[in-house]
Symmetry: C2
Subunit: 358 residues, 2 copies
């Protein structure tokens, strides 16, 4: 049994010297190193941008989507969508713990991984036979490997599994929003969340309020989303605007915030092309936090420059210490937020079934 690198570089097949996330292919052998943990996989939760890309590329054909996911995992030894660069997370049961693993896990524990599937060695052994290809949550069987520097959270017993998984999947967002808003506590910040009725969006709204934002604005793409969000009271105001239409978005945000852009704009919309609108909707000296994996680095950098916009732009880091507990705490404390999540999880199933029926 080898020691293994804390960051998992010993699992990289190619290219040499890369870390697991940058690797083309990982070694999925079930024998673990002293610092590793092996997990029996029960469910994958695909990243929204990745699932959307697969769904679009395969015209919503569930069988083709399933085949594409199997192909990626087989070729790469991880669920790392080469088109979006994103992955997702998984839940499973701890199967074996290396004697020098620092993660504090015990065999038999039910956990969710908090590091991306893009760097998690994964082998599937059931051909995803229980998945219809039509939802982001994927029942699966196989094994995965955690490194010393990986993160995992024991699943809370008081929450249903799909709900906990949905929260943990995006738990970096509220923790970072809290930090960014709290940093401006000397002059309470106005916050606009784009994609506010979604998972990371609604948690970001709750975090902004928790951090004592002066005003919390929820921006959603259509009236149906607005109808979901308004009764929750998570946002002081809810407006409908297309985040990919920069001028329309900036106008909607500015109008809702008494003529100024937002001090903090949080991008949770999982479609490309939201960079310029987010920049234009932000006040001079403000901050844009990009959580969407569909964000283009160059579009953001050159867009801000091209608009002569003095805004700080943060790449949403999925890791902030304490993020899992913070997100679960927000959900537990707010029945309306929990309701929004539950509706989203439940409504995903019939919609998928309806699509399948066609």
């Amino acid at each position: 049994m080898s020691t293994g690198s804390p960051v998992g570089s010993h699992r990289v097949v190619s290219p040499a010297g890369a870390l697991p996330q940058a690797a083309d292919r990982l070694d999925v052998t079930p024998d673990i190193a002293e610092t590793e943990v092996r997990v029996r996989v029960e469910r994958l939760n695909l990243d929204a941008a990745s699932y959307r890309q697969l769904h679009t590329a395969h015209h919503g054909d569930g069988d083709a989507i399933r085949a594409a996911v199997l192909d990626i995992v087989e070729r790469r030894g991880k669920m790392h969508n080469p088109r979006t660069g994103s992955g997702g997370m998984l839940i499973g049961t701890v199967e074996a713990v290396g004697e020098r693993s620092p993660l504090g896990l015990r065999p038999g524990q039910k956990i969710a991984t908090l590091v991306s599937l893009t760097l998690t060695p994964l082998h599937l052994d059931d051909g995803l036979a229980r998945w219809d290809g039509l939802s982001e949550q994927v029942p699966a069987s196989g094994h995965a490997v955690l490194f010393a520097r990986s993160l995992a959270a024991a699943l809370p017993e008081h929450l249903p599994e799909p709900l906990a998984l949905a929260v943990l999947d995006v738990c970096g967002a509220p923790a970072l929003v809290r930090r960014v808003v709290a940093r401006r506590a000397h002059a309470r910040a106005t916050v606009a969340v784009l994609g506010a009725a979604g998972k990371s969006g609604s948690l970001s709204l709750a975090a902004a309020r928790d951090a004592r934002a002066a005003a919390v604005l929820g921006v959603v793409r259509d009236e149906a989303e607005a109808v979901r969000l308004r009764p929750t009271g998570l946002a002081d105001r809810v407006v409908v605007a297309d985040a990919t239409d920069p001028l329309a978005l900036a106008e909607a945000v500015t109008e809702a915030l008494d003529g100024r852009g937002a001090d903090v704009t949080v991008v949770c919309v999982d479609v490309p092309g939201c960079e310029h609108g987010a920049v234009l909707a932000t006040a001079a000296g403000g901050t844009v936090v990009f959580f969407s994996m569909a964000t283009s680095f160059s579009a953001a950098a050159l867009g801000a420059e091209g608009l002569a916009a003095d805004v700080e732009m943060l790449i949403g880091n999925g890791y902030v210490p304490g993020h899992a507990d913070y997100a679960l705490g927000l959900l537990t404390a707010d029945p309306a937020l929990r309701g929004l999540f539950e509706d989203r999880i439940e409504s995903a199933e019939p919609a998928a079934a309806a699509r399948k029926g066609r």
Copy 2:
């Protein structure tokens, strides 16, 4: 004469509703709106990542590189490399000023644009006949258009044109580095600059020192670069490391900074794959500033998460108020920095000639 949108959306041919940077194609008609300025183009300065991509794709064949640039400008109405998403800047002479332009320019003034070529309407009329395709600086003839919210700097009379252009091209970097380092003034920051002997890198070193960094570390790719950088005194220490090898980079930085990562890591290396190394080389609670246009958003976001690295990651915004004057001031104040720039500009010419000779 129409009024024109301040951000130039009236020049977008497709897709509808986009801003110029996101547009596939711009309208290059020389008739200007009331808020626009028309510039007679004399020289383009291609973005390093863009030029490198073109050089690689065409195997260093100057004629093919020239044809590729002409094709992009002809098809898109702007020099916007579709592969890298980046452009560059230009110099020229102000030819016509709309009566409602707020830029304060006069016909006959020699200027450099400070907004990217990716959003600047550009028409070329000389087939780039004076360019051999083998350098980033491109003698050119044609016209370009500036919008109300574009930025341009009058070229300083005390500096040679290629030198001023080289500085202005990267002037956002030192201004942002100064701001990020100064923000940590309560506990003076250690700063590591990756790609420290290059244009944005050497200016970033100077800015870090100007902002009273505790230690300034220059990281370069090989001994030749180290030999260029050491005598300038811009860095307290110079180390050689491959920024695309995360573990080697982190080890080199940590060793040079007495066992800790850098408080601020500045990425000025214009090749892909530096995200993970930069994250690993940064101390917990530190900041990574990505200036390289070769940065991948998802690699940075998921890499930091996958390494459980609590670092703030900034998208390098090319605009910070006062950036042009600040960068030119740093250069003027430091003969060694100026010498590094001059060497780089001079050495580019014979090298190009040598390549052409082969």
